[in-house]
């Protein structure tokens, strides 16, 4: 196959590992008439280097260039690129475009499609080249400072010194001057440039000056050609022909066998970085039965989405999820729980069958007192609920926060409502008040209604009333705190029973905003005849009920004439 004459496209490959794969790729290109010049990192052992050379010794259009040590972020990579590029331009005069690739690159489309693409654009330089203001992807927070500070220390192995030295230079206001007033540009290291452009850069009169300057710039492989190309080329297409994605640490994403279909449909010419053991990818893309593809413009949209979703998952995660590899510190949860839910305090005391009614009008799941002391009152009295959460109160009380987060997580897609009251476990009061997913509606003092109806000794009732009132006062203080983020509404019992429909309508509308209809059927209110007298009895016994609002002891109805408006605390 080596009798195919050398064409207009040549490859420069920078290799430092997985040489058997690099050799396969180089052979693929070389056998299809594309000269290849390979640079091998000088830090690679002689044995590996010799073996690599031997593997390709039968190909006359594969050459090896002078070796430089290529530590990440240093000048070595640029020096290696320069030397290899000079070699390919010198030895293969037919070459018009030089494509800079790495050992872990893989061609996705037949090379003749790439040649045809370039033949249609013979004067175009494909190189991502943007000014420092426009890039948001640099590591270490250094953009323009890459060009104005000095970086004698390694970022990888001498991070402490690196950081200190940067800080020192900032403190004393040190600035390097940029030669000839060139405008620094940054971009992907992987480019495809024309002979004209490359020779203008490499043989230009100021090369020594520029080299001396860039030698001390940080990560010059992302800026040397990207900057200088703007000096010499008038036809820069600012994008890379190589599909290469970086994650949030500035580390390239890696392609595996299961990316095959995505890569195929991307219509990109070359991709990096390929996992060396991705056997199927190498077998597929280096074979010649490549007629499958329609030749279109590269379209890596789907791959972009895949990787940006991955980065988002790593950085933001799924709201409301607490698990082995996501356990956010307080206030870093991006949502304490996974979905909106409603907490009702006092409603089931005031109304008979409030739960059944609410579930009917809102279509949501309505539980009893989830935090009741003896057991978890799941809807329908279930012993186990979604996610296999048991109704055992000891397990719940061992970690109530996990209990609630689990429940809301496991029922995503179905709104959860539950009853709450001062007799329940109070441990999550702050957690819920600070949770923007919580809708908390409180009828204060309503806990007195079941006491009023109970058949207990009055001394017990009085003691219990005092206890519950104290707990509810503390809870209300939390709900009224300025930092509360939940949607909180509080009525006292008197104003609520004066006008119950309006508050109910507001709450129901918020739970199911799509079914904006008037409530026709109200839940049946508990009979409160004699409740005023009950409160008066409590007072007579020395306990001061303060949360119920104004119930005259003589009349059964509160005499307040103003309409009790719900107030939205937040």
């Amino acid at each position: 196959m080596t009798d195919i004459p050398n064409g207009t496209l040549g490859f420069v490959m920078l290799c430092h590992t997985a040489f058997h794969r690099a050799a396969e790729t180089a052979r693929h290109w070389a056998e299809r008439g594309c000269p290849v010049v390979i640079h091998v990192d000088r830090r690679v052992g002689q044995w590996s280097y010799d073996k690599f050379r031997n593997d390709l010794a039968d190909l006359p259009n594969v050459l090896f260039s002078e070796r430089f040590a290529c530590e990440w972020g240093t000048w070595g990579i640029v020096a290696a690129t320069q030397a290899a590029t000079e070699l390919i331009l010198d030895r293969f005069p037919t070459v018009r475009h030089v494509y800079l690739a790495s050992g872990s690159c893989l061609p996705l489309r037949p090379v003749r499609q790439l040649i045809a693409y370039l033949d249609e654009r013979p004067r175009t330089d494909f190189i991502e080249s943007v000014t420092t203001e426009e890039v948001g992807w640099t590591i270490g927070g250094l953009n323009m400072e890459r060009f104005t500070l000095r970086f004698p220390f390694s970022w990888r192995t001498q991070r402490w010194l690196f950081d200190r030295y940067v800080r020192l230079q900032r403190a004393v206001g040190f600035q390097r001057t940029i030669p000839n007033g060139i405008v620094p540009h940054l971009g992907s290291q992987w480019w495809c440039l024309t002979r004209q452009t490359l020779t203008a850069i490499l043989q230009g009169p100021d090369r020594a000056l520029y080299d001396r300057y860039f030698r001390r710039v940080w990560i010059p492989d992302e800026s040397y050609f990207q900057t200088l190309v703007r000096q010499v080329s008038s036809n820069v297409e600012s994008r890379s022909l190589t599909l290469s994605k970086f994650d949030f640490q500035g580390k390239p994403h890696i392609f595996y066998d299961d990316h095959l279909q995505l890569l195929r449909r991307s219509d990109c010419f070359v991709a990096r970085k390929i996992w060396p053991n991705a056997t199927k990818l190498y077998a597929t893309f280096l074979s010649d039965d490549a007629e499958r593809q329609a030749a279109g413009e590269p379209n890596p949209g789907k791959i972009d989405r895949l990787f940006s979703k991955a980065v988002e998952r790593r950085v933001k995660g799924r709201p409301g999820l607490y698990m082995q590899s996501r356990f956010p510190n307080e206030d870093w949860e991006n949502g304490r729980t996974a979905a909106p839910y409603s907490v009702f305090q006092g409603f089931s005391d005031v109304f008979e069958n409030f739960e059944g009614w609410l579930s009917k009008v809102t279509g949501s799941r309505v539980h009893g007192h989830l935090f009741a002391p003896d057991r978890v009152e799941f809807a329908g009295g279930e012993a186990v609920f979604n996610g296999s959460i048991p109704d055992n109160s000891a397990l719940r009380d061992y970690n109530p926060r996990s209990f609630l987060a689990n429940l809301i997580w496991a029922t995503r897609g179905e709104r959860q409502c539950f009853q709450f009251g001062p007799a329940d476990l109070q441990e999550l009061n702050w957690f819920m008040a600070l949770d923007s997913n919580a809708q908390i509606s409180v009828i204060s003092g309503a806990w007195a209604v079941p006491l009023f109806k109970s058949n207990r000794n009055f001394a017990d009732i009085r003691r219990e009333a005092a206890r519950l009132q104290k707990i509810e006062i503390e809870h209300l203080a939390i709900l009224r705190h300025s930092t509360a983020k939940a949607r909180i509404r509080i009525w006292n019992l008197a104003e609520f029973i004066e006008n119950p429909m309006e508050p109910l309508q507001t709450i129901v509308d918020e739970i199911s905003p799509r079914s904006l209809r008037r409530l026709t059927e109200a839940p049946r209110m508990s009979d409160l005849a004699g409740f005023g007298q009950f409160l008066q009895n409590l007072r007579n016994q020395g306990m001061q009920p303060v949360l119920m609002g104004d119930f005259p002891s003589s009349d059964d109805r509160p005499n307040e004439s103003r309409r009790g408006r719900p107030y939205l605390v937040k």
């Binding site: 994650d247 949030f248 640490q249 580390k251 994403h253 890696i254 595996y256 066998d257 299961d258 996992w275 053991n277 895949l306 990787f307 979703k309 991955a310 980065v311 998952r313 790593r314 950085v315 933001k316 995660g317 799924r318 999820l321 607490y322 698990m323 082995q324 590899s325 996501r326 356990f327 956010p328 510190n329 870093w332 949860e333 991006n334 012993a383 186990v384 609920f385 979604n386 996610g387 296999s388 959460i389 048991p390 055992n392 000891a394 397990l395 009380d397 061992y398 970690n399 996990s402 209990f403 689990n406 429940l407 997580w409 496991a410």
Partner: protein, 336 residues
């Protein structure tokens, strides 16, 4: 943490190494093929006792994932486990008649083996009833994961223990040798886990699942820990502090993100609840070699006598790792 605290942790780590060094004498090599370990081999370390019936599938499962060499420590098996393992080409095996309990539930032996043979290797430490599942495990071998972890500068990888159980009494369907245990026990709890942070060692403390639900409802604190960090790029300076739940130095325990993001993680499918379980619980109780005076096994026995069905109507049927990912039990993190 001050210098004193740091020094105290260092002493603790040193003490663990010293224990391991002393306990190494309890180990006798039956088959030592560690010469076959290459510099990039992925290793698996496991302690066992009378697990013969499980071994064929266990070995096949991990060979398929890409484990290159197995290092077993046999604690006085009587069912032919050591002979079977010694005949496998990629297995090295040591035997001991020493006390499981007084060697920190086997961890001293494991540490001794790890310090000697695992330095610089990605090493998986699992029990014979634990099956490692990680993102993309159907399409990418273990080496893809370890390469990625290495290039991301990650040294340790979390895999929560996920208790799997059958529907109906656990001894209804006998386990056959070589069988995939999850053909029988393919149910699990999807969101019934308590997560707390252990400030001391910086690891998470996860409990819950069917065991907490069924056996520990009146003693939630005593429910077994499910957090595990089984995959570590081992260094001889490291040591497992408490089973595989936590490590020293403490930085290795930071397998979770604290700022809202998700780190990549996997699961250890736990095939404990098969018909072999009742016999095992009885035997372990007699030996009294397990944690906290075998309270766990006692709770099991009491529960087992009541013929428990771990299954409930909200149990989830296992499909694949993607399902576990969606349910939030593990995460791809930024691996795509």
């Amino acid at each position: 943490m001050g210098i004193v605290g740091a020094y105290r942790l260092r002493l603790r780590r040193r003490r663990l190494h010293l224990r391991a060094w002393l306990k190494r004498r309890e180990l006798t090599a039956i088959a030592n093929r560690t010469g076959a370990i290459r510099s990039d081999s992925i290793l698996l370390v496991s302690t066992l006792r009378n697990e013969r019936i499980r071994l064929p599938y266990f070995l096949r499962y991990y060979r398929d994932l890409g484990v290159n060499h197995f290092l077993f420590i046999d604690n006085a098996s009587e069912d032919g486990s050591p002979e079977y393992l010694a005949s496998q080409p990629d297995v090295s095996i040591w035997s001991t008649r020493g006390s499981y309990r007084s060697s920190r539930y086997g961890m001293d032996w494991v540490t001794a083996i790890q310090r000697k043979y695992c330095h610089g290797h990605w090493t998986l430490v699992v029990d014979p009833d634990e099956f490692f599942v990680y993102p993309f495990c159907e399409t990418r071998p273990l080496k893809a994961l370890t390469d990625w972890l290495e290039s991301s500068g990650i040294r340790s990888f979390s895999a929560m223990l996920l208790d799997m159980y059958p529907k109906g009494p656990i001894d209804a369907q006998p386990y056959r040798e070589g069988q995939d245990p999850f053909e029988i026990a393919h149910w699990f709890d999807s969101a019934n886990y308590s997560v707390k942070r252990n400030r001391g060692d910086g690891n998470l403390w996860i409990q819950g699942g069917p065991r907490a639900r069924t056996f520990f409802a009146d003693n939630p604190k005593g429910a077994p820990a499910l957090n595990k960090i089984p995959l570590v790029r081992w260094d001889r300076a490291y040591a497992y502090a408490s089973s595989t739940h936590s490590l020293l130095p403490r930085g290795l325990n930071l397998v979770y993100d604290e700022w809202g993001g998700e780190k990549a993680s996997g699961c250890l499918l736990h095939a404990k609840f098969l018909d072999t379980f009742a016999a095992k619980a009885e035997e372990e109780l007699k030996r009294g070699q397990h944690y906290a005076n075998s309270a766990e096994y006692r709770a099991y026995r009491d529960g087992l006598q009541a013929q428990p069905d771990l299954w409930c109507k909200w149990s989830e049927r296992y499909i694949n790792w993607r399902q576990l990912e969606i349910l939030g039990l593990m995460s791809k993190g930024n691996w795509a």
